[in-house]
Amino acid sequence: MSYVANTASEQKAMLETIGAASVEALFSPIPESLRLRRDLAIPGPFAEQDLTRVMGRIASNNRSVDDLVCFLGGGAYDHFIPAAVDTLSMRSEFYTAYTPYQAEASQGSLQAFYEFQTLICQLTGMDVANASLYDGASAAAEAVLMAMSVTGRQGKIVVAETLHPHARQAISTVLANLGPRIETVPCPGGFLNPTEANLALDDTTACLVVQNPNVLGGLEEMAELAQKAHAKGVLLVASVDPISLGILKKPGDYGADIVIAEGQGLGNPLAYGGPYLGLMACREEFVRKIPGRLIGQTVDRNGKKCFVLTLQTREQHIRREKATSNICTNQGLYALRAAIHLALLGPQGLKETAISCTQKAHYLANKLLASGLVQLEPDRAFFKEFTVKLEASVACKWTPREIVDRMLKEGYLAGYPTGNWLVGKGDCLTIAVTEKRTKGEMDQFVEAFARVANH
């Protein structure tokens, strides 16, 4: 079964037209010594009903957030996805189309991505957004490359220790063979102290990369960091949670130069880490340095408004080794989903989602604090995610990893052991609460947590 239409007799007729004796003869340019003369050692074939059973069995060996109550975040969040996002994005006119190189045959996707760019600009308060990057971590690496190109500074990159470690790793992996040094500013207080940040910045620094809310869930002092960065000609790269922008100030309002985000929370499923959605937006003057595809509005030969891929001279297929980035394929379908999601939410829906996350997260945090088993670490303003430190009475018995494992048996994804990511946080657990959680789930979570911790 290979979805091939042509029958044996049709294939024979085709070979006659070609003038080839056999299909095998068409492969004659491949030297015999290089041919594989056995079957590949791979499984299959499976009829559709058998495939469906096999894949169903594999899926059932995973426990989803439908089975386990999810308080796990760390960059991937269990937000609600309205049915219309699935229905519309699964229109096969969208999902079986290619990159919209032929504008006349792609106005649907082109307009959808133009709308996406507009929505991301409105959301972040920035002037320009691209049509998506792979994910939040790779967007961080792209932002750093872009900042180097914009500023012409190749000396160093400064990142906060409270930037998601996966983003920090992506930056250091991509920069491994390029000029700049990466300086990570320690954040023992659980946030980037602007004075400490300022000490790291100099006139060879291309950018300062900060995440808000940060990897522990706490808010950073973005306005002051922007001020410090700009005073030294350094760009502020702000990595944000798009849902938080329902209540928090837009990055454009506190002076961010480049905004990046993991867009998974905007209508995209958890899906074990991908496909996700890299968002990137920037100020107008950097438009010719932004990586990735851009959709522009123009007119056709009859003066009719329409949309095209534009500023392609930045891109690899034109610029080759001089391109601003090597990105080609992006996350089109997931950008479409995000556009639909934001259109369904509107300003009030986004605000309600953000408020619901905030209120529920604070309810759970307060309830856990009241149990006397944990304390907030750090005790700072947070949005939907927070980090707790186990009290000594608990920590002497259990590590956060053990608590997580034991909470699994109670039916919970209890959070992420923070110590995997940050030094000095070995007794900590980072917990996320989305709008999907209910009071009942949280009350029972705290009871289960107490049972496990006191056992």
Partner: protein
């Protein structure tokens, strides 16, 4: 597609106060936000997103979808993109909560199914490549290229064998030189011969102890298998370099020949092409890499391993280049690819390549008397025609032909690529198209060549728009709606 439907922008159809999705008040006691946050961080109003009812949104995007060509509606012979049928069964499978609703940071103990699948996919991709070690982390082909080149750089650094250059044929995709530059190498171009294959003498003159990697696409972007590949790989290996295979054209050689067997040390796959993850109007892709055993320690972290207790993510990799993706890669695309490979099995996978090559040769045979095909009358899975003579003699360019095809309901071929063929029209029919589809397309294609230049210069005539002004779009970019 309904070409004439007018579809205003979301922001233009927005009406103050309209709502679609409602979250409702939280079921917990509310604390005033002003007491939770310092005042200066709170926004006075939420972002000015459009305000719409649910039907507004549904109708808007449904109508937009009708302004696209897509595989499910149209023959789409876009060369190098492998626009094959995207099986519906994959979409149902990938939407199972056990795939769609699983958290990437969940403990391995509750992720055994997906880890088993990824482990299985690593093994399958290794077998098809003839290269034993696989990382599924890269999210697309270009990221796969970059990842592999970073692996190569780490390998040479580890050996204290400092090499600075990556050699790339002039027929290569633009991502190759862009990836080489990003990985810190100097990209050096190698010429092609008149017949489209690598100019071995030119390559030889450029290979030396500075050569880190030679990147080759084989079959190449002209749809030709370079039979010199064994000599080429020997030349590179003798000079201490590595050979990278751009796997964009794997659809031609599945189970026929293996990159590892013809001397490649590293390669990337485009799972979204070869193993039919839908293209999604530009993504997501999935670009796993396969490498030789001596490069395995440098692969991104984590990889999936099999242990006594089942499957696990292995982060304990001291020589790893690190991470190129936030989590484990574009898993959803890999689930589809895995389902596809399981459906086909070994014989079915080889049949894919056999039929893709048969279809391409059939289309070539139907068209070769009507339009110049400069690099021979046989091909692998795709071929490149040239409108060079038509342009000179009849003022019909490759783009004019494309625009003419649009009027007949066909998505055009890839144009103006590869750069080594003037007025290039690159056609890849894939294995899933029927004989009569190819015949009908060829008939239309020939009829278009007989049309007058004047008619074609203004094509398409039947779609909603025609010939957007791309120069104006780039000169004064309008990249967003503004109030």
């Amino acid at each position: 597609m309904d070409k004439n439907q007018s579809t205003g922008l979301l922001f233009e159809i927005s009406r103050p106060g309209r709502r679609a999705h409602r979250v409702g008040a939280p079921d917990v006691p509310e604390i005033p936000l002003e007491t939770l946050f310092p005042g200066e961080v709170l926004a006075e109003t939420p972002p000015a997103l459009p305000e719409l009812a649910e039907l507004d949104v549904v109708r808007h995007f449904t109508n937009l979808s009708s302004k696209n060509m897509a595989i499910d509606c149209n023959f789409y012979p876009l060369g190098s993109c492998t626009m094959k049928y995207n099986p519906k069964r994959h979409e149902r499978i990938v939407a199972l909560p056990g795939f769609g609703a699983i958290h990437p940071l969940a403990p391995d103990s509750v992720s055994q199914g997906i880890l088993e699948l990824v482990y299985g996919m690593q093994k399958i991709l290794a077998e098809i490549a003839g290269l034993p070690a696989v990382s599924i982390q890269p999210a697309a082909g270009a990221q796969g290229e970059l990842t592999a080149l970073l692996v190569a750089a780490a390998y040479f650094r580890h050996k204290k064998d400092y090499r600075t250059r990556v050699l790339i044929p002039d027929s290569a995709h633009g991502t190759n030189p862009a990836s080489a530059a990003l990985a810190g190498f100097e990209a050096v171009t190698v010429k092609s011969r008149a017949d489209g294959l690598v100019d071995f003498e030119d390559l030889k003159s450029k290979v030396d102890n500075r050569t880190a990697v030679f990147m080759i696409t084989n079959p190449n972007t002209l749809g030709l298998f370079d039979g010199q590949i064994a000599e080429i790989t020997k030349l590179i290996h003798d000079a201490g370099g590595l050979v990278y295979l751009d796997g964009a054209n794997m659809n031609a050689i599945l189970g026929i020949t293996r990159p590892g067997d013809f001397g490649a040390d590293m390669m990337h796959y485009n799972v979204h092409k070869t193993f039919t993850g839908p293209h999604g109007a530009g993504g997501p892709g999935s670009g796993p890499i396969a490498v030789r055993d001596f490069l395995e320690p440098f692969l991104p972290s984590p990889v999936v391993v099999k242990t006594n207790n089942g499957y696990a993510l292995d982060f304990d990799r001291s020589l790893s280049i690190g991470r190129v993706h936030g989590f484990q890669g574009n898993i959803g695309v890999l689930v589809r690819g895995y389902a596809y490979i399981l459906t086909l099995g070994p014989k079915g996978l080889r049949e894919v390549s056999e039929q893709a090559v048969l279809n391409a040769n059939y289309l070539l045979a139907l068209l070769k008397d009507a339009i110049e095909v400069p690099k021979g009358d046989r091909c692998m899975h795709e071929f490149v025609a040239s409108a060079r003579l038509l342009r000179r003699e009849k003022r019909i360019s490759a783009m004019d032909i494309c625009k003419g095809l649009l009027d007949h309901g066909y998505h055009p071929p890839t144009v103006y690529f590869p750069l080594v063929v003037p007025e290039a029209l690159m056609m890849e029919p894939t294995e899933t198209e029927s004989k009569e589809t190819l015949e009908e397309y060829a008939k239309v294609f020939k009829a278009i060549l007989a049309e007058s230049a004047e008619t074609l210069h203004h094509a398409p005539h039947t779609l909603g728009i025609s010939r957007p002004d791309e120069v104006a779009a780039a000169k004064t970019p309008v990249l967003r709606w503004k109030n």
